[in-house]
């Protein structure tokens, strides 16, 4: 065979691609929650600079993260809905918490600036069940004296994909509204009575910014990044709060992560004057029988995040776990994976 210029070029191209792909294979893949995506993205960028290991994270929703880790197509699945210990045992999975954050309502009402709208749990439930359809409804006006509410229809924006953000939101509404608990319940995908569905936290944020009179729920980092108009809420103790890292951590201080089996805790509607009502945690799920090297790489990444990434986390209002919890996570991983 005569090796022409074309053949030599082709061989060189193939060799380069194989070489590049062999190099790229040294990475970690994860998928799941869009809630934790800002945090993982920030950590991954710095981690790649420090260690050269790429973390490839696809924000497809908590439901997707759970499905992919059960199928074993990724190294770690991120979910804002913790799996019950029984489900973890059934699929051979383990989970550990990553950070604490919270979500809030965002709205697009002409004349209402950020932090001007005041709501409470039962009111949110009524709006998202479609029982309140106009912004100048007396039930909203009662909580917002002196605020000029326009005669504009409310467009509810919810998630169209399976989401831990939805789970946390619906879990909170189930606690404060018996009708919500009976009719709708809480899961990563629910049967929304009204509204438009956006894909991911980003999709909901995008729709709310586009549609006048809309209201949706997003994770707090998206509110910070996009400078969206957020609502203030009355918590269980009757105090009026703005969402903040302190509020999320005050809620988390009420639960002891170390005592919960497989770290299964729910942070919504926690007692305390400073507790933000719609707080939540986000978990990483691993397969017990994945290749040891893969699990070790994932654990190394997140331990690095716990030790060196807290400043970045705080900047986007993700709260660090208490040191006792991090220690408990180390013990848990040691006993379950031997890492």
């Amino acid at each position: 065979m005569v090796t022409t210029m074309k053949t030599r070029l082709a061989a060189a191209a193939i060799a380069a691609t194989l070489g590049a792909s062999a190099h790229a294979a040294q990475g970690i893949t994860g998928a799941g929650s869009t809630w934790v995506y800002p945090l993982v993205a920030k950590w991954a960028a710095v981690y790649a600079k420090n260690t050269g290991i790429q973390v490839n994270y696809q924000a497809i929703g908590s439901g997707g993260g759970i499905a992919q880790i059960e199928a074993g197509t990724v190294a770690f699945g991120a979910s804002d809905k913790p799996l019950l210990p029984a489900d973890l045992a059934k699929h051979g999975l383990i989970q550990f918490p990553t950070a604490i954050a919270g979500e809030d309502l965002v709205y697009n009402v002409p004349g209402l600036k950020a932090g001007e709208l005041i709501v409470n749990g039962p009111l949110i439930a009524d709006i998202f069940m479609g029982k309140i359809t106009k912004w100048n409804d007396p039930r909203i006006a009662r909580l917002n004296p002196g605020v000029a509410l326009p005669d504009l229809g409310i467009t509810v924006v919810h998630r169209s994909d399976g989401s831990g953000t939805t789970f946390t939101f619906a879990n909170y509404l189930s606690k404060v509204s018996p009708e919500w608990q009976a009719k709708i319940g809480a899961d990563t995908s629910i049967d929304w009575p009204v509204g438009v569905g956006g894909k991911g936290n980003a999709g909901v944020a995008s729709y709310v910014q586009r549609i006048k009179g809309s209201v949706g729920y997003v994770e707090y980092a998206y509110i910070l990044e996009n400078h969206m108009a957020y609502a203030r809420m009355f918590n269980g103790a009757g105090k009026l709060l703005s969402p903040s890292l302190q509020g999320f951590q005050a809620a988390a201080a009420n639960v002891d992560f170390t005592k919960a089996k497989d770290f299964y805790v729910i942070l919504t509607d926690q007692p305390g004057a400073a507790s933000w009502p719609i707080s939540g945690c986000t978990w990483q799920i691993l397969r017990k029988n994945a290749p040891r090297a893969s699990n070790a790489a994932v654990v190394k990444f997140f331990m690095w995040g716990f030790e060196h990434g807290q400043a970045q986390a705080r900047a986007i209002a993700f709260g660090p776990l208490p040191p006792s919890t991090v220690h408990a996570i180390k013990v848990y991983l040691q006993s379950n994976l031997g890492i």
């Binding site: 908590s62 059960e70 399976g162 629910i190 049967d191």
Partner: protein
């Protein structure tokens, strides 16, 4: 004519018989190989279709066992929490968005085709034809992005007018009342119409241009207007191809996923108004498939896919019958 052909034939050497190909050693004639290969390819295509439908049917079995056929088709609940699934809102969404697309695209395509074949000055025919072909070349996800980022905000400015004026018409007003969201069933129908326009328009244009000139010239000579020529000469002559083109566009509209998912609003509730959000079968599968964790949930989504296959099959059978009756009827040859 016949005598000269016979004279030519008698001068040629007698035709050489091709020997029977099978079992004649290693050098099989290329014709035999080509014949068998073509048959094999056709069989592969048919087998793939059957295998795909069989696989989807098999994976839908758990959902069929739980919900049955009629129960699934009539149920309006799609509730992953209580594991109750029903296809009715999505079937309606698919059919309604496709119907809007066809209602908008077919007249416009007809107008474009008549313009190119009859009315346009010679220098403009090529650019317009090229522009229509370009519409078909745009990827569907780009249509979705365009629909969400450009069309929906602009449409949201038009929707209050639709709500106030069309929504006030007695009888059909309920179809046009709703908040000015920009996205929704009507927006999805309009984006779909733009997507299927090139398919219908280019087929219509091709057959209109290919209509024998003597038919059109005779009609013009007798004093027919352009509209009369289009309606009474072009359409009847080309009705088979035009119907085929329309069904091609319909098939495309029924299965379109990404563009619809971006603009239809993703609401699993049935609403009387076209301005409200809805969902179609492809959009719900695209949104929920990666995150469906329970077996029944996944099986229900696949069952939805089976329902969509059934709908397209019904449309295909309708097309075959319609085309058959059109071909048999006197008049056009195409």
């Amino acid at each position: 004519m016949d005598s000269s052909e016979a004279a030519v034939e008698s001068k040629l050497p007698p035709a050489i018989e091709e020997p029977a190909a099978a079992g004649r050693g290693l050098s099989l004639p290329a014709d035999f190989l080509f014949h068998k290969l073509a048959v094999f390819m056709a069989a592969v295509v048919g087998a793939t279709l059957v295998a795909a439908v069989a696989a989807i049917g098999y994976d839908s079995l758990p959902a069929i066992k739980v919900f049955g056929v009629l129960g699934f088709l009539e149920s309006r609940r799609w509730d992953p929490v209580s594991q109750q699934f029903g296809a009715y809102p999505f079937i309606v969404g698919t059919l309604v968005s496709s119907a809007i697309a066809m209602l908008l695209a077919v007249p416009v395509s007809f107008g474009v085709a008549v313009f190119i074949s009859e009315l346009a000055p010679g220098w403009i025919k090529q650019p317009i034809s090229a522009a229509i072909e370009m519409l078909a070349a745009v990827p569907s996800i780009v249509y979705g992005l365009w629909g969400l980022l450009v069309f929906a905000p602009a449409f949201a400015n038009l929707e209050p007018w639709i709500n106030d004026h069309l929504g006030a018409i007695w009888g059909v007003g309920a179809l046009f009342r709703g908040p000015p969201m920009g996205i929704g069933m009507l927006a999805a129908g309009i984006v779909l119409a733009i997507m299927i326009l090139p398919y219908i328009a280019s087929i219509m244009r091709d057959v209109f241009v290919a209509t024998p000139a003597r038919l059109k010239e005779s009609a013009y000579a007798m004093g027919a207007t352009t509209w009369e020529v289009a309606r009474r000469i072009l359409l009847p002559y080309t009705r088979t191809a035009v119907t085929g083109g329309i069904f091609l566009g319909l098939g495309r509209a029924l299965g379109e996923t990404m563009a619809v998912t971006f603009v239809i609003g993703n609401s699993n509730n049935l609403s009387r108004s076209l301005l409200m959000p809805g969902a179609s079968i492809p959009s719900v599968i695209a949104n929920e498939f990666t995150e469906a964790t329970s077996k029944l949930y996944v099986s229900s989504l696949i069952y939805l896919g089976l329902v969509l296959i059934a709908i397209t099959l019904v449309v295909q059978i309708l097309a075959v019958f319609l085309l058959g009756s059109l071909r048999r009827a006197p008049g056009g040859t195409r």
